[in-house]
Amino acid sequence: MQLNPSEISDLIKKKIEGFDLGAEAHTEGTVVSVTDGIVRIHGLSEAMQGEMLEFPGNTYGMALNLERDSVGAVVLGSYQHISEGDTVKCTGKILEVPVGEALLGRVVDALGKPIDGKGAIETTETSPIEKIAPGVIARQSVSQPVQLGLKSIDAMIPVGRGQRELIIGDRQTGKTAIAVDAIINQKGTGIKCIYVAIGQKRSSIANVVRKLEEHGAMDHTIIVAACLRIGRIAIHCALYRLRDGRILQRPRRRRADHL
């Protein structure tokens, strides 16, 4: 058994002191069917589009299909323990992820939970997962380059700030190397980098993290890792995170069953 950082007795005492004992009102529904992480729920007449739903066993889901008599939802994470007849609660919150400066230097999963063992992320701000990205008109025009630190690329095909660039190529040809080099080169320039690894092995993500730490580049970098283990829905969420940041690498292994 591992002791969590939140299990210090003073912290527990404080939480008990501040615990709100008011009656809790919520909307409830019943699971009708579970198919590959997609759940149909009867009831939940007041569910919102994109609302976080609470399943038994500390599992959460997102309401997507709002129909007259039922709600279709996706389960975030493992769904093996959910079965027909389970009760589902509305939380009244749209699915959100933590955002802010506190994320810099951290490795998080697709839902913003830290997976680097460095404790909780101290941030008060959150941002909904499903939101519309600013359009072309609203964005500032590209007026200055980003130095990737690779002479041949910077000279021949410079990348503009705010521009998207796809790195594509066969495996083992150095796509990750370009991305990691580019991140390292942003040290001290004030550019924040987000490395989104989708469907990759944990070991390859650990390698990238080690490389970045060696060169002191983690201070301006966030790593969002949606590993194969945590399921396709989380990967879908991770894809949304791409919108907010500079895309440094497109998913290297896109599997048809994930996207």
Binding site: F19, A23, G29, V32, R68
Partner: protein
């Protein structure tokens, strides 16, 4: 389950409209309750769900069973259900019909689970409070559930107001994680 409710809705809406026109919602309510009870009979359910049984013989059977219990409009409704092979929807139709009726008459069916039996005054006071909170007349249906440890849990359709010790302990467990 949800699909059955969707299929049942037009029938329930039609029955409710007709009941309102003729002012016989009480009678329809009884008819539907009667049909629900006879269809929950296992031996009859086997017969109803058997595809080899023709509509005609099923219709005759249903007529004979319900003779004297339902009026001519009820019999017509039954015939229609047999014709459309939707007899298994009856429990859902009854449920939706009751919901329409309750909405029309401005009251709400509320299930109250309490750890202990209510006293008479306590019950009255609680029902008045619920009426204020839900903004509707309530029809309380109290069940004693010792597993709640203390307090009450109110269930009005989808809405749940959890004021039980059990719920609070669960809430606390989550907050402390």
């Amino acid at each position: 389950m949800s699909e059955l409710a969707t299929l049942a809705r037009p029938y329930a809406a039609a029955v409710f409209k007709r009941a309102k026109e003729t002012g016989s919602s009480g009678k329809w309510s009884k008819t539907l309750a009667f049909l629900t009870s006879i269809l929950s009979e296992q031996s009859l359910a086997v017969f109803v769900n058997n595809p080899k049984v023709s509509n005609e013989s099923l219709s005759n059977l249903m007529r004979e069973i319900s003779e004297g219990q339902i009026d001519s409009e009820g019999a017509n409704f039954l015939k229609l259900l047999v014709q459309n092979r939707r007899l298994n929807l009856v429990p859902h139709i009854a449920k939706i019909f009751e919901a329409y009726k309750a909405e029309d008459e401005g009251y709400l069916d509320v299930d109250v689970y309490a750890a202990y039996e209510f006293s008479k005054e306590g019950r009255k006071e609680f029902s008045a409070k619920l009426e204020k909170r839900l903004g509707k007349k309530v029809n309380m249906n109290v069940t004693v559930d010792k597993s709640l440890i203390g307090g009450v849990l109110v269930r009005a359709g989808d809405k749940v107001i959890d004021g039980s010790v059990k719920g609070q302990l669960q809430h606390m467990q989550k907050a402390l994680q």
